[in-house]
């Protein structure tokens, strides 16, 4: 296994990303030192490598990646893993708005709190939030699953069309076209398999606390309950 180290200090994002992409063709693991909350890190990376960011990342960390496993050791700004198609983005700290915006696949894990509009227009994939998730989480969600171990704020699942949001804490309010239903045995088994694999070791009784937010209708028409009215 070969490893490559990049010192991002005093380098612009474009230069760092060029170096990542070049090194990704010849190495299995890349470590970025001194990222200093830089924007766009690893944007468009399509090689299935392991990328360690030793610090915080700025906006759009890991946007449009396909297959890479990115581990951010501190925080991330807005839109980490935006439009990812495959891969994994793990953030040890907190993250800003739009975590996993529009993802088509892969897994995003944030160990602490995140901002607003988590998983907006996501089509598939999984987002796990260890803390709280903010306003309009799951906005226009079209598939996949969001798992929130803390509380979820106002208008959860606003205009959700497909997919599910699992919330262990409190739901402040639901958005339009969202409803709460009970978890199935299959849902619970999936959570029990998934969460410990990312270091979230819940007690058996914790799984009873989860609520599941799903769409009321698959094709909502505004002002009516459904296309058929």
């Amino acid at each position: 296994m070969s490893e490559f180290i990049i010192n991002a200090e005093h380098q612009p994002p474009r230069e760092v990303n060029r170096t990542i992409k070049k090194a990704a063709t010849k190495n299995d693991k890349i470590t970025i030192k001194n990222p200093n909350a830089m924007h766009y890190l690893a944007a468009g990376l399509i090689d299935p490598i392991e990328l360690i960011i030793e610090g915080s990342a700025g906006y759009f960390a890991g946007t449009m990646i396909h297959g890479a496993k990115i581990h951010i050791k501190e925080n991330a700004g807005w839109f980490p893993a935006d439009n990812m198609t495959e891969g994994e983005v793990i953030i040890d700290g907190s993250a800003g708005d739009g975590v996993g915006q529009g993802i088509y696949g892969g897994t995003v894990v944030v160990k602490r709190d995140v901002g607003s509009r988590t998983g907006e227009i996501m089509k598939n994939g999984t987002i796990i939030v260890g803390g709280n998730s903010g306003f309009m989480s799951g906005l226009f969600m079209m598939g996949g699953r969001i798992i929130v171990l803390g509380d979820i704020s106002d208008d959860a699942g606003e205009s959700i069309i497909r997919g599910a949001i699992y919330v262990k804490g409190n739901i402040k309010s639901l958005g339009k076209n969202a409803k709460i239903e009970k978890l199935t045995i299959q849902d619970e088994n999936e959570l029990k398999e998934l969460l410990p694999s990312y270091g979230f070791n819940l007690e058996e009784h914790d799984y009873n606390s989860f609520k599941k937010i799903v769409p009321r209708f698959n094709r909502p028409f505004y002002g009516k309950d459904s296309e058929e009215g």
């Binding site: 830089m38 915080s56 501190e74 700290g93 800003g96 903010g134």
Partner: protein
């Protein structure tokens, strides 16, 4: 897209706030290249009733003398300084004394009547620096790195609606009560709904810039006995549009964010420092912390010393 930043040193002692804000704003330079500005509080050391005027004057024969004459008619100039700027302008700074704060705005309006002259601000407890260009260039031009203070706010501007010039650079100041400043990222979409009642009260608007509207709104609320946090909370209810803005007062700073959370705002604090900014990269210039708080939609935060 603009960058905003604010910092407070909790011990109330003088710190290199100019240098801190320069580094915070430089880290946000990518958010706006048009102009930048600072309001650095606590380091001016003026006596009671003394004020510092910053006046933009075109380099034209006899014009500076006209400015000095107008000021001297109102009150003797106690100290003066000329700072070279760009595009054939200089910044004329002078220290004056007035009997009451209420005389300051009329004097400023008198000076503004002179063609090719604009008073950028007049203040007692803070130093305003704002100009067109990049943060580092402005910092060098005004020697901001040497400016000491207890707290301050700053801005780097990406102009959207109004002009790119020194006057429209942030911070904006209100004269409803002394020494209130605002830096802002976003748009106030119900601008006229906010402005009209303020104008009917007699508050004077110099521009159509929505940041000027915010600073008058906040100063009006503070003048009516609202606390800083109360004024910020009320503004979130009253104002529409995407915004996050930071207020500077002689006692502290505060941030407010719109109810949909469409503009960024993060904060961090430790035992010594309270800091807020558009992005984490800016906070890291003043503190070594791993704990960053996202300001939530509709949320306000403030710290007063």
């Amino acid at each position: 897209m603009c960058g905003i930043a604010g910092v407070v040193f909790k011990d109330k002692k003088l710190h290199p706030v100019g240098d801190n804000l320069t580094n915070m704003l430089d880290a946000l330079q990518h958010r706006g290249p048009d102009s930048a500005g600072y309001a650095i509080y606590g380091g001016l050391g003026l006596e009671e009733n003394e004020y510092l005027l910053n006046i933009e004057v075109k380099e034209k024969q006899g014009l500076l003398e006209s400015v000095k004459k107008t000021v001297n008619i109102a009150t003797p100039i106690k100290k003066e300084e000329i700072i070279p700027s760009v595009e054939n302008y200089i910044i004329y700074r002078c220290k004056i004394e007035l009997n009451t704060f209420s005389k300051l705005k009329p004097l400023i309006m008198d000076i503004d009547k002179i063609k090719d002259v604009m008073v950028l601000n007049g203040a007692h407890s803070f130093e305003m620096i704002k100009d067109i260009g990049l943060v580092k260039d402005i910092a060098s031009r005004y020697d901001t790195q040497s400016k000491m203070g207890t707290h301050g706010i700053g801005h780097t501007r990406f102009s959207t609606e109004s002009l790119v010039d020194r006057y429209h650079a942030h911070p904006f100041q209100s004269y409803i009560i002394p020494d209130i400043t605002v830096v802002h990222n976003g748009q106030i979409t119900n601008y006229w709904k906010i402005r009209d009642p303020l104008e009917r009260k007699g508050h004077i608007f110099e521009t159509n810039n929505d940041t000027e509207c915010i600073v008058h709104y906040i100063a009006d609320k503070l003048s009516k006995g609202y606390g800083l946090e109360e004024a910020l909370e009320q503004s979130v209810k009253d104002m529409d549009g995407p915004f996050s803005y930071i207020v500077g007062t002689p006692d502290g700073v505060g941030i407010a964010k719109d109810q949909l959370g469409l503009r960024p705002g993060v904060m961090a604090e430790n035992n010594e420092v309270f800091a807020i900014a558009s992005e984490e990269v800016s906070l890291r210039e003043v503190m070594d912390t791993h704990d960053i708080d996202q300001i939530s939609p509709g949320e306000t935060r403030a710290y007063t010393i």
